[in-house]
């Protein structure tokens, strides 16, 4: 009876240990926090952690078309060469699923984060 109890404890301990190992791998390999993905013509060209403050120019290969600024955990377009300036006027984004779209330059800034509550789409 005692032996069985000991075996059970060993087994439970073993399972927990394996679970902990999986959890550790999961947390170590996962990306740190939320980031802003930059899409140009539908292709992701860069991603920046929202913790990485700085100015990130987006180019069309030659000239800078949009200036992405990350500050205070939020991403925004500070400057753009497009006539309508809709992307510049757009609020800073920080929550999963939020996007800034610049139609003339075909640029999309999308916030990607590990959260269960992010909507699949925003309209």
């Amino acid at each position: 009876m005692r032996k069985r109890l000991r075996n059970d404890i060993l087994l439970i301990g073993g399972v927990l240990l394996i679970a902990a190992a999986f959890a550790l791998i999961f947390f170590l390999t996962r990306k740190e926090g939320a980031y802003a993905a930059v899409m140009k013509n539908g292709t992701e060209i860069a991603r920046y952690a929202l913790s990485a403050e700085g100015e990130y120019p987006i180019t069309d290969g030659e000239t800078v078309t949009n200036l992405l600024v990350i500050r205070g955990g939020k991403a925004e377009i500070a400057e753009a060469t497009c006539p309508d300036q809709i992307c510049v006027n757009h609020r800073a984004v920080s929550k999963a699923g939020e996007t800034i779209v610049c139609l003339p330059q075909e640029v999309v800034i999308k916030i990607v984060a590990e959260t269960k509550n992010a909507p699949d789409m925003v309209v």
Binding site: R4, N7, D8, L11, I12, G14, V15, I18, A19, F22, M39, N41, G42, K74, P83, D84, N89, H90, R91, A92, V93, S94, K95, G97, E98, V101, L103, E106, V108, A118, P119, D120, M121, V122, V123
Partner: protein, 348 residues
């Protein structure tokens, strides 16, 4: 026995960990080639190749609809709506068109009746003036001006949809008033989105979410059967604390938002957006945005435009008279109003 149970528990635990790695993966595609807007396709597939295959089929279809319904450009070898407008410019002309154009225009006639004339594809003469002033005002803000009211009123004399004659037998469009112009901006995107979604459904493909410039159409649900989560943008575009004002759980339906914040230009500090009231010939000022939820994306598109220029009371009466439609209105002060069943779909 106990041991066996423990082993089984352990196995189940391990399997549950592996489960995250298995199953279908969610992919997203962005493109800018259709209807002068951004198209987002979200879908679940076993591989990137499988997703790309579906996306390229959808894009081929969208391109075909985009070219046929384009009122600004003509394309080699096809008669599109731009051709119809150009050839009819001041002269009587019967134009041979693709069946997809006839289908859109006859659907638009039906929605004209449903919306009591608030969604009118024969309003092109008026809308083209606004388009010209808006485009110019965006490119040259220092020159931004409002269109002269006499010019708008003159154009409004040529917006009788009864003068748009469709001949299904000969596949032709004839504008009996040659000063009339077609503008399908209030319905074409939604209609095309619906057709593309139907194509997927006919092929038995589910687990896709399409968004063509604010026309969202769900095809099925998530692979695990859970509904899609769709957020509605806060029309107060300065508000960084609350980017979305509502979240809905949707399966298979369409959600379209028309907003005054989406496309506008500024004249002497005042914003003038793109949704023009057929009665006042000016941008509607009753709401910041109107969202419509119903099965058919073309219908949702037309209804959201129509509701935008109606009063809340008129719009609410229209929505309640339709069996399958729900709506949310955002008033200028930010107040949100809902049709009877809208909040059955929202979650916190």
């Amino acid at each position: 026995m106990k041991r066996l149970f423990s082993l089984l528990t352990a196995a189940a635990l391990l399997l549950s960990f592996c489960a995250c790695a298995r199953g279908e993966t969610k992919y997203t595609d962005y493109s800018f080639d259709y209807f002068d807007t951004v198209t987002t396709i979200v879908g679940y597939a076993d591989s990137k190749e499988e997703f790309d295959g579906v996306v390229s089929e959808l894009k081929a279809l969208l391109l075909e609809y985009h070219r046929l319904y384009d009122i600004y450009h003509r394309y080699e070898g096809i008669n599109n709506l731009c051709t119809v407008n150009d050839l009819t410019d001041g002269v009587h002309q019967t134009v041979q068109v693709d069946q997809k154009i006839l289908d859109l225009l006859s659907y638009a006639k039906e929605l004209y009746t449903v919306t009591e004339g608030k969604m009118n594809v024969a309003m092109g003469s008026v809308l083209s003036i606004w388009h010209q002033y808006r485009t110019n005002g965006i490119s040259h803000p220092e020159e931004a001006a409002l269109p002269p009211m006499e010019q708008l009123r003159e154009a409004a004399n040529h917006t009788d949809i009864g003068q748009m004659i469709l001949d299904e037998t000969d596949s032709t469009v004839f504008l009996a008033d040659p000063a009339m112009r077609l503008d399908v901006g209030a319905i074409a995107k939604g209609y095309a989105t619906e057709q593309v979604a139907l194509y997927l459904e006919e092929k038995g493909i589910t687990g896709y979410l399409l968004n063509v410039g604010g026309n969202v159409r769900c095809v099925g649900a998530h692979p695990d059967g859970e509904p899609w989560s769709v957020g509605i943008e806060n029309p107060d575009t300065e508000n960084t604390e609350k980017p979305h004002i509502a979240y809905l759980h949707l399966t298979g339906q369409s959600l379209v938002t028309s907003g005054s914040y989406q496309r506008f230009y500024t004249v002497e500090g005042v914003r003038y957006h793109h949704i023009i009231d057929p009665e006042t010939l000016m941008p509607g000022t009753n709401f910041l945005s109107v969202s419509v939820l119903c099965a058919d994306s073309g219908r949702a598109d037309a209804l959201s435009t129509a509701l935008f220029t109606m009063t809340y009371e008129e719009g609410a009466a229209l929505i309640e008279s339709l069996a399958d439609a729900e709506a949310m209105w955002v008033l200028p002060d930010g107040e949100q109003r809902y049709s009877g069943g809208f909040q059955n779909y929202t979650y916190q």
